[in-house]
Symmetry: C2
Subunit: 227 residues, 2 copies
Amino acid sequence: MGLSGCMAPHLNTIATARTPSKNSTAEKLLVAAGELMIARNSPDVSLSEIAQQSGVNAALVKYHFGNKDGLLLALLARDAATEMTHLDYLMAQPIAPTAKLKLHIAGIIKAYHRSPYMNRLIHYLLHDSSDEAADEVSKFFIRPLLDFHRRLLAEGVAAGEFRQIDPVLFYTSLIGACDHLFSGRNAMARATGVGPVTDDVCRDYVAHVEAMVLGGMLKGSPGKKIS
Amino acid sequence: MGLSGCMAPHLNTIATARTPSKNSTAEKLLVAAGELMIARNSPDVSLSEIAQQSGVNAALVKYHFGNKDGLLLALLARDAATEMTHLDYLMAQPIAPTAKLKLHIAGIIKAYHRSPYMNRLIHYLLHDSSDEAADEVSKFFIRPLLDFHRRLLAEGVAAGEFRQIDPVLFYTSLIGACDHLFSGRNAMARATGVGPVTDDVCRDYVAHVEAMVLGGMLKGSPGKKIS
């Protein structure tokens, strides 16, 4: 699974870092960074903290990843690769497209919940890092996810389960809805006093998004004209 | 329409700034800041640029708004007040809840499209400014919007049009979906080569979100069990 060839040379180590046996130092650094972010519930961790947690010399970050953003990108690439493997596996299952979509909705929300830093890392690398980092995240995260939506929607239409839906608009609305549970929760808490995103909140939101995406909110048939 | 009383004194001028006749200097600064952000399609404008555009001495920003974030907050408060007036007007219309919801979905997306800086300003003030700014945005933007959803959902259930839906989850999914058209478009463009958010894209997205929220994507009835 090759990444872009137009990146700075050190970013090619992302592919290496995905294979622990090939480069255990890089892997140790990624594991340490992930653990620290989960423990702190924030992607704001310093290179020296990552080095201390991993027992690896901080200078080796530069050798393996170029800089901290290179390490963060490699971490997200590692997590994204895992998620994309899940998508391929899901797509290949001998179940109805609607069932795949339900599992997919739960999968996205659970992935964000499992790696609380993932959401903020994506936002940071897409908007507040470099153009190169944003391009990479687009390639290893957004493009395969959109491609999965494209195939799933086509399969659902072919099976007579889904109506025709534009994949780009579908991606935008579904990912926006899932993302906002996590990216918008602090602001919601300020405004309304709701608590953090617990397992129960996640479960409720999976059920809510599933119900909205599949059947909408109207009583009666989807095409019913009330107004 | 009072804002919080626990803010720094200069933020009380937000209320004043909303009434141009009461304070034309503050109003000039807000108009200039909004025009610059629209012209530049970015909230990254400097105080000296705002001063130059408005013909007002830069030192008066400090007098009226405390600092640049205070000015940005006042600008968003002004736009939010306009939107909230629209919500009150919409709620009072003698039309079906479903029709109100359709107008509301189009209204959110058009408001973001009309003020391209609004989305980024909300993100900035909620996440990258101060706790005080985030609290204010939550109060004048999120809380009244959620309150509108609460009332509209209740009205729709009472009218027999909507099924029971949790307002916090509903808010999260709808606002997340609408927001993502704008906040996620750059990343989508990188990944798939889609163009910017034009009037046509907005119109298509309004229709998409409306169809998803009301009827979902399944062919047949909303409650149909396929899997």
